[in-house]
């Protein structure tokens, strides 16, 4: 564990030192601020929740995917480009240590980028004490989704940076992977005329995002994210091992491992589909625990 902490700390500190990280943070904050302002202005008085205003904008997710792709790909891509991977792999650490440390670092960095953008409702409340649109449990459900997405994007970025030598190609692949997860369902809703509904053009990013930001934490979505992360973690470690143990049949071994991991993840998701439950938020004031469990 100590090795993971040391490696992760180095990555986070190094990232915080580079100007490009702060530039990305500025652009992301500007985009997410603009989205929040647009929603706050256009949806004022239409009964829209602040969690929806914060997390439902397509532009917010697109910007998040872009910065998350850049951060996660460069975590391992820079080591490969600068040759420092040779220092890492000859240090007394395992491949699992390296991948876990990079994952943790990527998660922390993406959250550092994203958290200032999700505290806009609190700023709004501080500026207008009379405003009563704050929905803490729903906002927390949105933050949970953001954390799951940050973990998934980091692992996807690490994976693609090992597959592609060019960081640009890896970033595009990571962005598309994230887009597939975030926007699945959106395309269908546009084609099916969902955009005709007044708000869905902005709001209906994906069904699972809509449910999270309206305070419903669905076990199926959580299981999907967690198993996808587990598969990617396993694959990342296997790929890094492959770079060290370039033995005959090594690639076939990784492909076989991938299919086995996907089958296992599929089974877990199938069980989760059979036994779904969700945690629903109830009005915040008046209760100590703002959620209740329900079996579906």
């Amino acid at each position: 564990m100590n090795e993971i902490r040391i490696l992760c700390r180095r990555d986070v500190r190094s990232w915080l030192m580079v100007p490009s990280f702060h530039l990305m943070a500025t652009v992301f904050l500007a985009v997410s601020g603009l989205v929040f302002w647009m929603f706050a202005v256009t949806m004022a008085g239409k009964g829209m929740l602040t969690s929806e205003i914060t997390f439902s904008g397509m532009l917010f997710w697109m910007a998040l995917l872009a910065v998350a792709s850049a951060v996660s790909v460069k975590l391992l891509g820079d080591d490969q480009e600068q040759g420092t991977i040779e220092l890492l792999l000859t240090a007394p650490v395992t491949e699992l240590h390296v991948i876990l440390a990079k994952t943790l670092a990527g998660f922390v960095l993406i959250m550092i980028l994203a958290v200032p953008a999700v505290i806009y409702p609190w700023i709004l409340r501080a500026a207008y004490p009379a405003w009563r649109g704050m929905d803490v449990p729903m906002w927390l459900a949105g933050v949970l989704l953001l954390a799951l997405m940050a973990g998934l994007m980091t692992l996807a970025g690490l994976f693609w940076s090992q597959v592609f030598k060019r960081q640009t190609a890896a970033m595009v692949a990571t962005f598309l992977t994230g887009a597939m997860v975030v926007f699945r369902g959106s395309v269908r809703s546009w084609i099916g005329g969902g955009a005709a509904d007044g708000s869905s053009g902005f709001v209906a990013v994906a069904s699972h995002i809509s449910s999270f930001v309206s305070g419903m934490v669905d076990s199926r979505a959580v299981v999907f994210y967690v198993t996808a992360m587990a598969v990617l973690l396993f694959l990342n470690v296997r790929l890094l091992q492959l770079s060290r143990y370039r033995r005959a049949g090594g690639r076939a071994n990784v492909v076989l491992s991938f299919f086995l991991a996907v089958i296992l993840a599929g089974l877990v998701n199938y069980v989760a589909l059979l036994h779904p439950f969700r945690v629903m938020s109830v009005p915040w004031p008046g209760r100590l625990f703002p959620w209740q469990w329900s079996k579906r």
Partner: protein, 241 residues
């Protein structure tokens, strides 16, 4: 200390090392010499556990490089040929990071780093950004990194490559301290360096060991004036002894 048996390393169709077998005892200093592409870097990378051999066995301190690579990395210091650096890190910050990875903490770490900074000629550079260092300075930082864990086995890939005479001498001076009680293997193109520092010389050519003996013995056997002539003679013969 190091036992290599029938080691072969292939990269696709290219065979970098062919059926290499040798033994190096604890405390020996061995120089790997040979023309470019002879397999020196590949051999050092296999010993450093950076890459696993295609076939054959490699044991370091009784540990296998494939199944017990972590145990080997704990007893190993490695200086790579190219200069991999984190340009945004400061010298001291980098050395502290590497010392922590080696399990050094508290006063032991401070004492060890202070000693290495003096020995590797890094005084005054502690706060310098690695990206702003000259090649010689980077090499010295990486040398300090290689020695930070007080490793039993030290592997150096062309430690004085591209350095001016002053920096080259500084590095040579720093590893002359290491010769006692440590196993040191380094690759070099500098015959004087090989002759003056090592107990044995391994001459590699096209992935094969052309000769492996003490410098004096090699010179005597080839009836040559120096190691340079020995290499020329062996390489022109096709490299097999």
């Amino acid at each position: 200390m190091i036992e290599v048996g029938h080691l072969t390393q292939k990269f696709g169709r290219v065979t970098a090392l062919r059926d290499v077998t040798f033994h190096i005892a604890r405390g020996e200093t061995v120089a790997l010499i040979g023309p470019s592409g002879a397999g020196k870097t590949t051999l050092l990378r296999v010993l450093a556990t950076y890459m696993a051999p295609t076939s054959g066995t490699v044991l370091i301190g009784g540990h296998d490089v494939i199944t017990q690579s972590l145990a080997i990395r704990r007893m190993l210091g490695y200086l790579p040929e190219k200069d991999p650096i984190y340009p945004e890190m400061r010298v001291m910050e980098y050395l502290v990071f590497r010392a922590r990875l080696r399990g050094l903490s508290g006063r032991t770490r401070v004492k060890r780093l202070r000693e290495l900074i003096g020995r590797c000629g890094l005084a005054g550079l502690e706060r310098a950004l690695m990206g702003n260092l000259s090649k010689g300075e980077v090499r010295r930082v990486l040398l300090a990194d290689c020695l930070v864990g007080e490793p039993e086995v030290i592997l150096m890939d062309e430690p004085t490559l591209g350095l001016d005479p002053v920096n080259g001498e500084r590095i040579r001076g720093s590893f002359s301290h290491l010769k006692e009680a440590r196993t040191l293997i380094f690759s070099t193109h500098d015959m004087t360096e090989a002759e003056s520092l090592c107990t044995r010389v391994m001459i590699l050519n096209r992935g094969l060991i052309a000769a492996f003996d003490s410098p004096a013995e090699l010179i005597r056997k080839q009836n040559a004036a120096n190691l340079g002539e020995v290499i020329q003679a062996l390489v022109s013969k096709g490299g097999l002894s």
